[in-house]
């Protein structure tokens, strides 16, 4: 290995990984914007929950994972699904409820799942997946498998019972699970500060489970990446779970229906200055990455989005025969003889 360069391009993270982190963030950003446009054109159906502004968390957490590590996401799961390498086409197809979607339109945008990529489901009942991630981690522990189960959720989720039960359970059983709270300051439309008596919904509760208090700048992919590596290593070493609070902000409304009028004047603008992609692009520049390399990533991303859009627009809706398939493991839905 070369010596670490003064600008840090070859530090603990290194240039290749940094380009990967950048690429992922850019792709998520472009994808989410396109999803929004397609929603306005009525081509994205149902609801959708964008991660605009929160890309650094998805990128940092996923890039630090190893193949075989498992992600457990929420309805706000496009970013985490893409970050694990699932194709834009499959995710967009699901948002557009086409036959080429990840689940052929049966699940919809809130339930993105790609088992082959380790995306073990997206869950739309607040808190439900924290215990489920514990179970996955228990399996790894029981079978002596090295994978980590990583569970993403929002600030508002820390107030539901399942959060409490899961984090305690994981801590007592020393499970290889990493809980990642994306604190974007809001639940749907209500500020998290209105409904907790502490400042940090996750970190200020870590000690209740004998865990370390961890707060990370969620708009800095490097910071997220470093914290992720630490937590995954701890999990793999049999030292139990971590609870990581990432501070961030969502640029758009909660879901497609929400213009986010409840935000105080200037708040969005302040956070736009801390836009994770702007920050990261600048970091690459500071590290001496040339403009061409950056531009190539950006252009490749746009192309991918374009291609995925075209494919999905051309894709048919799911055939009606799948309406009743896969209720049970035999492929069907028979509840009687």
């Amino acid at each position: 290995m070369d010596a670490i360069t003064p600008n840090g391009a070859n530090d603990d993270i290194g240039l290749d990984t940094r380009l990967e982190l950048f690429r992922k963030q850019v792709e998520i950003r472009d994808f989410e914007k396109r999803a929004y446009d397609l929603f306005l054109q009525n081509l994205v159906k149902g609801t959708s929950h964008l991660s605009l502004g929160q890309e650094a968390i998805a990128a940092g957490m996923a890039t630090a994972m190893q193949p075989g590590d498992l992600s457990f996401c929420t309805y706000r799961g496009h970013a985490h699904t893409l970050a694990r390498g699932v194709s834009m086409e499959k995710v967009l197809g699901e948002l557009m409820q086409r036959d080429n979607g990840l689940m052929r339109g049966k699940g919809g945008s809130m339930h993105l799942t790609s088992a082959e990529h380790g995306v073990m489901g997206s869950y739309a009942i607040i808190g439900a997946h924290l215990p489920i991630a514990c179970g996955s981690a228990w399996r790894a522990q029981y079978l002596g498998q090295p994978d980590v189960s990583v569970c993403f959720f929002g600030d508002g989720t820390t107030n539901i019972g399942a959060f409490h039960e899961a984090v305690n359970f994981a801590a007592v059983w020393k499970l290889p699970v990493v809980f990642v709270c994306e604190n974007n300051l809001y639940m749907e439309y209500t500020p998290i500060a209105d409904v907790i008596p502490i400042e940090h919904p996750a970190a200020d509760r870590a000690s209740a489970y004998g865990l370390e208090r961890i707060i990370v700048d969620g708009n800095d992919a490097d910071a997220v990446f470093r914290e992720a590596l630490k937590a995954y290593a701890k999990a793999r070493a049999g030292q139990g779970p971590s609870l990581i609070e990432c501070l961030t902000y969502r640029h758009s409304g909660h879901s497609r229906a929400d213009p986010a009028k409840y935000r105080p004047e200037g708040e969005l603008e302040r956070w736009m200055e801390r836009d994770p992609i702007k920050i990261y692009r600048q970091r690459l520049v500071d590290f001496g990455v040339d403009g061409e390399t950056i531009k190539a990533i950006e252009q490749a991303s746009k192309k991918k989005v374009e291609a995925a859009t075209e494919t999905c627009k051309a894709a048919p809706p799911p055939p009606v025969e799948i309406l009743t398939s896969d209720v049970y493991a035999d492929g069907g839905w028979a509840w009687r003889n």
Binding site: G46, G156, I160, V195, T324, V327
Partner: protein, 325 residues
């Protein structure tokens, strides 16, 4: 008389009761300042202030538990559970606490509260945000359960629910929020436990609820026009108390019963009504009792699949035609 949406009728019904009775308070997630995620409670916060209209943490057990504790000691709370699917995370209150405390305490404690919740499919939200779960409440002894199909019923049944001394679960249908209907001016107070005959007929009785009511009515018109089958259409409105007299009376006249329900097939309210009729009106029946339901599967997200999964007017027409011939 004014035309109102079902959505606005919710806010009107709550406002009517909050104006009448200081003890009526309202709590839920994003119900106050934001006016509710379905915009069904817009204006209440402005009108009644943060003391009576309260946003909560995402803590459904705390919401329902707090409503119960307040109800038991003197208030008349209305609690919102945003989507009825979420009743599963606070089901202990629905199943074990609200409905049992009066009985267990030999009448010492009461639980006069209303839980209102967005029920039903049609928004392409997928399996965890689209269910019809009226039967989750109907099956529990000690609750009362209503599910209005029109804006006027929303206001009137809301008022009846709030004034009722027992716990009432009110299922509002998400796909009806945008529909409109005439609502009389002034105070409206309906009665729990009364079904409504919306269309008279002599050949068969169709019993429907919520979103299935307009579909049943449309099917009845088509059955009359296309097949000459003259159906009576009953909007159940209240599952508990259940107006069995109206239903049994109608079947006594028509000799046939069809239930049209959105919830999945097994153990739905349709099964309950079908069973009551198959027992008590057996000798009135001229043919099989037929339930038309959503198939017993989780709900799909995709629009084309969701459009065919619920009972449609076409499917109702087809099933009734086939069974009547």
């Amino acid at each position: 008389m004014a035309e109102l949406t079902y959505r606005d009728a919710v806010a009107r019904g709550i406002a009517q009761e909050m104006e009448r009775d200081e003890r009526v308070v309202f709590l839920g997630e994003d119900v106050g300042k934001p006016g509710g995620v379905f915009k069904a409670t817009v204006g209440l916060y402005e009108k009644f202030g943060p003391k009576r209209v309260r946003d909560t943490p995402i803590s459904e057990q705390a919401i329902l538990g707090a409503a119960m504790g307040a109800a038991m000691t003197g208030l008349r709370p209305i609690a919102e559970i945003m989507f009825s699917d979420f009743l599963a995370v606070c089901f202990d209150y629905i199943a074990n606490e609200f409905p049992k405390s009066r009985y267990m305490t030999n009448g010492q404690l009461g639980c006069p509260l209303v839980v209102r919740t967005g029920n039903g499919a049609g928004s392409r939200f997928g399996a965890q945000h689209s269910q019809s779960v009226e039967n989750w409440a109907m099956m529990i002894p000690g609750l009362k359960v209503v599910a209005p199909s029109s804006p006027a019923d929303v206001v009137g049944l809301m008022a009846a629910a709030v004034r009722d001394p027992d716990p009432v679960i009110m299922f509002e249908h998400k796909s009806l929020y945008a529909t409109k209907g005439e609502v009389p001016d002034g105070e409206i107070l309906d009665t729990l436990g009364k079904a409504k005959v919306l269309r008279e007929g002599k050949d068969a009785t169709i019993v429907a609820l919520a979103l299935m009511v307009p579909r049943a009515l449309e099917a009845a018109e088509r059955l009359k026009a296309e097949q000459g089958i003259d159906c009576e259409v009953i909007d159940v409105r209240s599952l508990v108390p259940l107006d069995t007299q109206t239903i049994l009376g109608s079947v006594g006249k028509t000799g046939r019963l069809f239930t049209v329900e959105e919830n999945p097939r097994l153990c739905g309210w349709g099964a309950e009504i079908a069973s009551i009729v198959a027992d008590e009106a057996f000798y009135d029946l001229d043919g099989p009792v037929v339930r038309i339901t959503t198939p017993h599967i989780p709900l799909p997200a995709a629009d084309n699949l969701e459009d065919i999964v619920l009972p449609t007017p076409g499917r109702i027409v087809e099933k009734i035609t086939r069974s009547m011939n």
